[in-house]
């Protein structure tokens, strides 16, 4: 049973590439059942933070703890939804098979997927409303549907923590709504979701908590607390003018 009240604990994390700090002394504790957005300018280390939470990076200093255990020791507790641009959409694979991949961790290497595995994949597809597309090749889907398939895979994995890399990139407003709805539902079933997001205007509306980073941790908390003019002007430097709209929406 959970020994820690936090889903993810990042503790004094410093990660470097070629003597350049991608993350510097980042500490954050993410509570359970939250929809958390990670915001910051390009090259701020958002993807690095996600990779660290997946246990792919060896930190220079610091640690990442998933539900009280060291991230290196808990393979598969965290499910990952890749960026749409990083997937080969011509790959010969159907929607059903992608969802089934979520179960691969539980299937012993010598066995075939069991009826229970197939059932779990089917359920996951039902949650994201993709059942009718189960036999389609993934390239035949629209952008939002593609995103939902990978969400289904993450749900089938049964992890309580989901990391999503820019799920709203390159989809239209209606699709964005549909994806958000699925995320909300996942949250209600007891998942913790950490989402890399680039749109400050929608950030306040979509997420319970925001992480604002640029190498260093600038803020973590409810959107109203994070989307402060002085904080944003520090992180986004000269490009602040375009965000005038954000502040107005916040203050009304």
């Amino acid at each position: 049973m959970p020994t820690s009240p936090y889903a993810i604990e990042v503790d004094h994390l410093t990660v470097s590439y070629h003597a350049r700090a991608a993350l510097l002394d980042v500490s954050v504790r993410i509570e359970r059942d939250q929809l958390v957005g990670v915001i910051g300018p390009n090259g701020a280390g958002k993807s690095t933070l996600i990779k660290a939470m997946l246990g792919f990076l060896k930190p220079d200093v610091g640690s990442v703890t998933i539900e009280g255990q060291d991230v290196q020791k808990v393979k598969g507790k965290v499910a990952y939804v890749p960026q749409r641009g990083s997937v080969d959409w011509d790959f010969p694979i159907t929607v059903r098979e992608v969802a089934l991949m979520g179960r691969y961790q539980r299937i012993p290497w010598y066995a075939s997927p069991s009826a229970a595995d197939r059932e779990a994949a089917k359920e996951a597809l039902a949650i994201v409303r993709m059942t009718e597309f189960a036999d389609r090749q993934i390239g035949e889907l629209s952008g939002g549907q593609q995103q939902r398939v990978f969400l289904a895979r993450a749900l089938a994995q049964g992890s309580d923590i989901l990391l999503l890399d820019e799920p709203f990139a390159g989809v239209d407003a209606a699709t964005e709504r549909a994806i958000l709805e699925v995320l909300e539902r996942a949250k209600k079933t007891g998942k913790t979701l950490v989402v890399v997001h680039h749109d400050l205007v929608t950030a306040a509306e979509y997420f319970d908590k925001l992480i604002l980073i640029k190498q260093r941790m600038y803020a973590y908390g409810p959107p109203q607390a994070v989307l402060q003019e002085d904080l944003l002007s520090k992180v986004y430097e000269g490009r602040l003018r375009i965000f005038g709209k954000v502040f107005k929406e916040e203050t009304t």
């Binding site: 997946l54 246990g55 792919f56 393979k75 598969g76 965290v78 499910a79 990952y80 890749p82 990083s86 997937v87 080969d88 790959f91 010969p92 694979i93 159907t94 098979e97 991949m101 691969y104 961790q105 299937i107 290497w109 010598y110 090749q137 895979r153 994995q157």
Partner: protein, 421 residues
């Protein structure tokens, strides 16, 4: 006649051996080739086959000089593997530490290693007896029993590995990040696959030669790729296409009295081209038909407004006059009847309710564009023609923008009513 053509070759031992050996190699090459194609590493097969000659020469020399064993097959096999892995390592080393890009690094390294092999074989020609031509062209019609055994063993081994670890290879190929996140040994699987590819290449070189082996690896897989939406089916089909290439190629070779390896790859390539042309989903013909079937939105909208303006059941001649004269119109009308926009009453056409709504939208856009064009000073005589082009721009609130900007006019410049939303 039929007997002469098809059955007679089958009675010859050399043909039987070629058929069996070739098929074994083609099956496993096709299956492993699917992963090679999907991982975009076709160059690996090429690098491996070219490196092989250096490896074989090295293995031969070492075994002969150190142990005095002539043409020791396992020694040569090991040498090939070492040479192949070295070549691949050199390629990634050069492309990662210098400004040389990978494709150039590949070109340099595998020709370099190949040249090393050729020079070694010719310098030590008194010690080692390797037929260079055999290496380059292959000799499927002279398959030795030992070659058959080696390829059967390799095929069994590689197929076992691929079937046992199918899911692992599928996931690491499709999404290596997820594979790593659930704890699959991604790097180890990569090495395992490279080893499998090397084994297949080594066992295939003696049959089709250094130059053609890469074709046997990727062409059947690519052919299957055009027909399948699932990896397991793609593998089965790739194996099938590999075998048909061998069978077809061998007959070609007997009938035309040509080189065996060449005939096989020629047949394999022709087979690919045929599938490329006629594949039901990803073929050229299907693509062409899809494009042809698409009815341009512009024609649809022109038909709608023409009928709306004509204001009574419209005969084909009128549509021909105002819209377009050609096959496109007929197809458009058929599609529109299907979509419930038009009703066909023995050669005259009228709008359905849905058609009328659509037509009104286009007309509204047309008249708003005309009004807009007039306000920006477009000459009177160009109003209609330009608006006719612009009326098709109606998405993303374009029309609403015009309406608002013009102060929601009730009439267009010709005094006609602008339909409401």
């Amino acid at each position: 006649m039929m007997y002469e053509l098809f059955i007679a070759p089958l009675t010859e031992t050399y043909f039987q051996k070629a058929l069996i050996g070739g098929s074994i190699v083609a099956v496993v090459a096709g299956v492993v080739g699917c992963l090679v194609v999907l991982r975009k590493m076709a160059f690996l097969g090429d690098a491996l086959s070219h490196a092989m000659i250096a490896g074989v020469a090295g293995g031969y020399l070492v075994m002969k000089l150190m142990f005095g064993i002539e043409a020791h097959a396992p020694g040569m096999l090991l040498g090939s593997l070492l040479a192949a892995v070295t070549t691949v390592a050199l390629i990634s080393f050069v492309s990662s530490i210098s400004r040389i890009k990978e494709d150039t690094a590949i070109g340099i390294m595998y020709t370099g290693v190949f040249a090393l092999g050729v020079v070694a074989v010719s310098i030590f020609r008194h010690y080692i007896h390797i037929d260079l031509m055999h290496f380059i062209m292959g000799d499927i019609l002279g398959v030795a029993d030992s070659d058959l055994w080696v390829s059967a063993f390799v095929a069994a081994l590689v197929l076992t590995v691929l079937i046992l670890f199918f899911r692992h290879f599928q996931l690491t190929t499709f999404d290596p990040i997820m594979a790593a996140s659930i704890g699959l040994p991604v790097l180890l699987l990569d090495y395992l696959l490279t080893t499998c590819v090397s084994l297949v290449v080594v066992s295939a070189v003696s049959m089709v030669g250094v130059i053609l082996v890469v074709g046997l690896l990727i062409t059947p897989a690519a052919t299957a790729y055009l027909l399948c939406d699932r990896l397991d089916r793609m593998m089965v089909l790739a194996a099938f296409f590999g075998v048909t290439s061998v069978i077809g190629g061998l007959y070609l070779c007997v009938w035309l009295d040509s080189a065996g390896g060449g005939a096989i790859m020629l047949f394999c390539t022709l087979q690919f081209l045929v599938v490329l042309a006629v594949a039901p989903k990803y073929g050229l013909l299907a693509r062409w038909l899809r494009l042809r079937r698409m009815v341009p939105q512009q024609i649809v909208e022109d038909v709608l407004t023409t009928i709306l303006r004509y204001a009574k059941p419209t005969p084909m001649q009128v549509l021909r006059q105002y819209v377009e004269n050609g096959a496109g119109l007929k197809r458009a009308i058929r599609q529109m009847v299907q979509d419930g926009l038009l009703r066909d009453r023995q050669g005259v056409y009228l709008l359905t309710e849905k058609g009328e709504q659509e037509a009104a939208k286009v007309l509204r856009a047309h008249r708003l564009w005309e009004t807009y064009l007039q306000t920006i000073g477009t000459p009177q005589e160009q109003l209609h023609a330009t608006a006719h082009q612009l009326e098709h721009l109606r998405s993303d609130g374009t029309v609403e923008y015009l309406d608002e900007k013009l102060g929601r006019p009730a009439q267009d410049p010709h005094g006609r009513t602008i339909p409401g939303e």
